[in-house]
Structures are given as C-alpha cells and as structure tokens.
C-alpha cells in the first residue's frame, strides 16, 4: 500500500485499513492548504482594515496637528486713555466699549514707523488678528489699573500670516497667487529677525466658541453643546431603554404583540438618522414649541436614535444571565422584582453599560438629524445650558470643512482629532467596564 498506487474502495474494504493510504495523504495536504488559505483570507482582511484606519489617522493628524499651534506677534501696547477714549478707569461700561483696536493699530504703527498711506496701513493692521483687541479688553477689564501703562504682549496674528509661517502659503509663489502681499512678507521677515513673531500653543482653540476668523475659532462651544446633548440623551435613553428591555425580556407575554414590538425595535435601529431629525423638527420644535438649535431637542432626537441600540444590547445582556441563577432566586422565594433587582440586573449591568456607551458614542458622532433641528447655525457663544442655542462637534467639523479659509482646513482636522479622542475614550471605557465586571458562573 506504500507504492503510491491508488487503492479502490473494494481494496480498501478488503484491506480493512485506509489510514496512511496515498489518498489520505493527498487529502491531508489539501486540507492543510485549505486551512492555510482560510487563515490568509482573514489576515488580508484585517490588514486592509488596519491600513485604512492607519491611513485615515495619519492623514488627519498630519493635517491637523499644526492647528494646536498659533502664530503670535509681540507688540508694545500702551493703554493710552486718549486712544481708548476712557477718562475714568472706574467706569466699566466705558472700559468695555473702549477702542482697543485703535490701541493695537497704534502699537503696530510704533513697531513699523515707516509705513505710510492708507492701503499700506490697512495691510499692516491686517497682519494682526482682529481678535487682538479682545485680548487687550480682557486684560483691561480684569485690571483697570493698566490704564496709562505700557506692556509687551504676544497677540494673535491674522490667519493668513499664520498660514504663511506654517508654510501653507508659499513665500516664493507669485504675489497674485497668494493672500499675503510682498509687503506683508517683508514685515513678517522683519518681525522674525527681531524675534517678535513666534508660534505658541493655541489655547484659543480649546477655550473659544466658533468664529468667522479661524485664529479666533475654537471648539469649546461645540464640545459644550455635545456635552449637554449627550447628557440629555443619556438621562433619557438609559433608564427608558433598560426599563423597556426588562419589560420585554422579563415580563412581556410571548405573543403576537410583543413579536411586533420586537421587530419594530430592530427596524427602528435601522431607520436613517435623518428621519429622526425630521421627526424631531415636526414634533419637538413645531408641535411642542421647544427652542430651535437647543441641546435639549438634540438630546431628544438622539434619544430616539440610541434607544433601539441600548434596548437591543440590554436585552442581550439580560438573556445572557443564566437561567439557573433565576431559578435559584425564585426557588429561594424571591419575588420576580427581587430576582431582577438582586440578581439579574447586577449581572446584566456591564452588558447594558457597554451597549449604552456604544450608543452614546454613536450619538456623539451623529450629524444629520441635528442639522434638521437647527444645530447647524453659526453660534459664537459657548452655551450655558441645554436650552441655549448650540452646535455639536461633528456639526462644527461639517461647518469648518465647508469654510473657504485655508486655516480652517487644519482646524477641521484638529476638531476631528478631538472627536476621535472622545470616541476612543468612550470605547476604552466600555472595554474596561466589560473587563472589570466580567463574572464567571
């Protein structure tokens, strides 16, 4: 049987053993090859997935990391009562309305005394951000004694100058092709030589709301809006979904009605999210008269959207509690409520929380339904509560991605990085929860 000749079924039956026959050898080789191939397919799929994700991250980080730095120009500013138009430093009204922009302009003229002509002066003033005045105002309001004094301050540069320093605007390009004139470049070079221009950490990006000026725009407003929206979503959806899951899993009779409910919950999870936005617009805003653009309405809409996700996860968690634990509790004379609250819920909780966090992460990244309820408006102020107009992180990304200014490109990527950071954090939390509460029985 070792001569390599194939044996027939009859011979096999006669010989009594088929182990080690050439056919078996061949089949073995074939099977091993098939197994190797099967593993290879999986590996290729994983590699492709990972490389796409890596590419995405690389692209975003490469584009976005510069947004965390912002160009500043050092100026010697004088809190001149004449320029500011303030007579009495005790008058807060006058302090807040004073002409701080004039002060910045005066400082610029002092740094570049040779510039003359209206156009040249306008170009000169344009190298400093229009937000520089706000910085001065804030300092002055906090400390009115500054009136009449002089100090050296780093003030934000205009976004075009920022782009120039970061290399996004090329100095060797023809003047007509860039947003910075030759003259402005000369001033910048002068500042560079005297060490009066530098890039420093961009705190504005984390502390300010949205703005038309990229150098003044920040994500604080959007993150606060996202926070309130998610808070409303969590407060509403978690108890509702858990209660619904408990009812469906533990109390509902198994009949046609509960079947219909079950199918519809699964369907709800598949409804395009923009439909929930339209529903929210029609019901919450038009019918109930809730304010537009408010995180409260956003939270309500996202609640509708995340409910099915959490219900499905919670039901799965409840189902996975072994029946023996239920029997043990009931056999001890525990009532149904006691059985659920003492034994089933604690065991199902990690699964429920994981589902909730995943639902929340989904809600955090959701854009379309919020567009429908007006959370896409341009809102400068950081919202102070769930009833004030707000926008959320993904919508902010959408808005910035739509802006023509070059400086918004990097801010878009930076905002995406922040959003991804939150998402990774939430998913990590879900994993930690699962690990920590994982029990064996």
């Amino acid at each position: 049987m070792t001569d390599g000749k194939l044996i027939t079924g009859a011979e096999l039956a006669a010989s009594g053993s088929w182990h080690g026959s050439p056919q078996t050898q061949r089949r073995l080789r074939k099977r091993q090859a098939a197994e190797k191939r099967f593993r290879a397919y999986g590996l290729v799929a994983i590699l492709m997935g990972v490389s796409f994700v890596a590419l995405l991250f690389f692209d975003i980080v490469a584009k976005g990391w510069t947004a965390f730095m912002q160009t500043h120009i050092q100026l010697e500013v004088t809190y001149d009562p004449e320029v500011l138009g303030i007579a009495d430093s005790g008058d807060t009204q006058a302090l807040s309305r004073a002409n701080y922009t004039g002060m910045v302009k005066a400082a610029m003229r002092k740094t570049f005394p040779n510039v003359s002509g209206r156009r040249a002066k306008r170009a000169l003033y344009g190298t400093v951000s229009s937000g520089a005045g706000f910085v001065l105002r804030e300092r002055m309001m906090a400390n009115p004694d500054l009136l009449g004094s002089t100090e050296k301050l780093w003030l934000p540069a205009d976004d075009d100058i920022d782009m120039l320093l970061k290399g996004h605007i090329r100095r060797d390009a023809p003047e007509s092709d860039r947003r910075v004139s030759d003259q402005q470049i000369a001033w910048v070079e002068q500042l560079e030589q005297s060490g009066q221009i530098r890039k420093q950490f961009n705190t504005t990006f984390f502390t300010a709301g949205d703005s038309r000026e990229p150098e003044l725009a920040g994500i604080r407003g959007a993150t606060t809006g996202s926070f309130y929206t998610l808070l409303v979503t969590l407060i509403l959806s978690f108890p509702l979904a858990v209660a619904a899951a408990i009812y469906l899993e533990e109390f509902a009779p198994k009949n046609r009605w509960t079947d219909i409910i079950e199918v519809n919950i699964n369907n709800l999870a598949a409804v395009p999210s923009i439909v929930f936005g339209l529903l929210g617009l029609a019901v919450f805003i038009n019918f109930f008269g809730l304010p537009r653009s408010a995180p409260l309405v956003g939270g309500l809409v996202l609640t509708l959207m995340t409910l099915p996700t959490i219900i499905i996860a919670s039901r799965a968690a409840l189902k996975s509690v072994p029946p023996s634990i239920r029997e043990a509790a009931l056999g001890m004379g525990a009532s149904k409520t006691q059985m659920i609250t003492h034994h089933v819920l604690p065991l199902a909780m990690p699964g429920m929380l994981t589902g909730t966090i995943i639902g929340m992460a989904q809600a955090l990244g959701e854009t379309a339904p919020l567009l429908m309820i007006g959370m896409v408006a341009f809102i400068v102020d950081v919202p102070g509560g769930p009833l004030e107009p707000a926008t959320v992180l993904p919508v902010q990304i959408f808005l910035w991605a739509d802006s023509p200014e070059r400086a918004f490109v990097e801010r878009t990527s930076a905002a995406i990085m922040v959003l991804l950071g939150f998402l990774i954090l939430m998913n990590a939390l879900a994993v930690v929860l699962r690990r920590r509460f994982e029990r064996r029985w």
């Binding site: 001890m332 004379g333 525990a334």
Partner: protein, 303 residues
C-alpha cells in the same frame, strides 16, 4: 374526575375538551385512581400512596407542556420527616412532578398544572396563596449547583434577608453559621465567607445551595438529582446530610441512582412515561417490586 374507560388524554386535548378542573377533595377520594388499562400495560398506581402524617398531598395531578402531557393523574402523599425518592427512566416526568410541589413550573411558558396539591391541607395552587411564601416553605435544591455569584455569606444570608427573618448582623451571622454547619460546609469555608460562592468546588457549591435552602427553615426540601454532578465522596456527604435533615424536614428527592434512593429514602416512587407506577417502602420496592415495569427498571432491563 376522569372516570371514563379511555384515559387517552392527548385525544381529549385534541377535541378541545378542557382538562379536569382541580376539584378533587382529598379524603373523600379513593386511594388509587380509577384508570383503565392502557396499551403500555399500565393500569393504576400500585401500592399505598398515602401516609399517616402527610405534609404534602397530591391528587390527580396532570401537567401539560403546551399540548404535551408530561404527568398523568399522579396522586402521592409525602409524609412528615420522611425522605421520598423518585426514580424512573429519563424523561418520565420526575423533575416536572417535583417542580409542581413549589410551583416552579409557573415560570415555564406554556406549562399547565391541574389536580390538587396541598401543603398541610392548604391548596398551594389556590389563587389567593402567595407563591413567594410557598417557595419559602418549600425549598429547592437543583441538579446543577447554582450559587449566586456573590459571597458565600451573602448566598446563605439572602433568603433570611428577603423574608425578613433577621434584623441584625448578629442574627444573620448566627443563621449563616448554623445553616453552613448543618450543611457540613462550615469548617471548610469559615475562613473565607466573603469569597465568592462560585469559587467553591462542585460538591461544596451543592452543599452551599443546601445551606442556602435550609437557612429559611423550610417545611419541605425538594432535591432534583442533587448529586448528579458530584463525585462519590461529595455524594456520600450529601447523603449523610439528607439523613440528618430528615429529623426536621420533609424531603423529596429525585435520583437516577437506585443505590442512593435505597440509602437515603424511606419511601420510593417509580415513575414511567408520566405515570406513577408504583409507590412503597423503599425496602419493598427494591427487594420485592410488585409491578412488572418497576421490576424491569430496578433489575436494569431498561432505563
């Protein structure tokens, strides 16, 4: 009462005839049910189903899972301070029957019970009776050890706590210690009462479940194959324990081991395809079975 010649319940189910209502009154009824001989060669329960001091009595109990009948007209007394063993081939309805005694079958979708079951002369299927209180009086130990995923202490303390038997930590400590001692587990776990009950060995877990069951001082303890997952040594300990518990409790035990039934029980009931075929003193059942099916089973001709 079914008094007609044909006891083919499946047929009567098909024709939509309602199952007999639970109107049988214990005492006025004759001792054995009045069933005709059917094609399985079974007529009526052989032996004396009654005892002098019954704790639980069942009369004409039928159990249906949907359309399928799992228990057919079973009548049986379970006496005070005795251990009744239930034996029979797999699928004959032992678990189903024992689960009727504390209404655990209520939790199964589509399960229906008819007939009368009383505990100290009180109908346990009476709609006014609270099933939670019944289960506190009729405790159960399951085939697979199923301690709560909580500490050993909390496992035992759970019953007394939910039934309000304890008001202070000291009382709880006392009950926990006494129950664990009676279950023969105290010496093994007294130094690790706070560790998880699921971390014990299978035999220890089962004894923990017994401790948990006796912590609420039930009147009756039901045991469904309590030793089937245990080794001979653990089994022997639990059998000893059952013998000790008999002084204070009434015990119904389902077992596949005839030796075990012979060792721990005073009376034995043999089930076959949903029928209670024979009941009698354990000695008599194993040495001198009166029904052919019983004899076949205990001599190992089937089952």
């Amino acid at each position: 009462m079914i008094t007609q010649a044909s006891p083919q319940t499946e047929e009567s189910m098909d024709t939509g005839k309602p199952a007999p209502s639970r109107t049988a009154s214990i005492g006025t009824r004759s001792r054995v049910s009045n069933k005709a001989l059917d094609d399985r060669g079974f007529s009526e329960t052989v032996g004396d189903i009654t005892v002098d001091q019954p704790r639980m009595q069942t009369r004409d109990v039928n159990v249906y899972y949907g359309d399928k009948q799992a228990i057919k007209d079973v009548s049986l007394d379970i006496g005070r301070n005795e251990v009744v063993a239930m034996i029979g081939p797999s699928g004959c309805g032992k678990s189903t029957f024992i689960r009727c005694l504390n209404r655990m079958n209520d939790t199964i979708e589509g399960c229906r019970v008819t007939g009368t079951i009383t505990l100290d002369k009180q109908d346990i299927y009476d709609p006014t009776l609270d099933v939670v209180q019944l289960r506190a009086r009729v405790g159960m130990v399951f085939q697979k050890p199923n301690p709560f995923p909580k500490s050993i202490y909390d496992n035992v303390a759970y019953g007394p706590r939910i039934h309000g038997l304890v008001s202070s930590r000291m009382e709880t400590d006392e009950i926990v210690q006494r129950s664990l001692e009676r279950a023969g587990l105290w010496s093994e776990v007294k130094d690790r009462l706070t560790s998880s009950g699921t971390g014990l060995s299978g035999g220890q877990q089962q004894r923990l479940c017994i401790a948990r069951a006796i912590a609420v001082s039930p009147d009756v303890i039901l045991m469904d194959e309590p030793c089937s997952a245990l080794d001979p040594i653990a089994t022997a300990r639990i059998e000893e324990l059952i013998d000790e518990l008999r002084e204070n409790y009434t015990i119904a035990i389902v077992t596949h081991s005839m030796q075990q039934a012979a060792r721990v029980s005073q009376r034995t009931a043999y089930f076959h395809l949903g029928d209670l075929v024979e009941v009698g003193e354990t000695n008599q059942i194993f040495t001198n079975p009166r029904h052919r099916l019983t004899e076949d089973y205990i001599t190992g001709r089937f089952g």
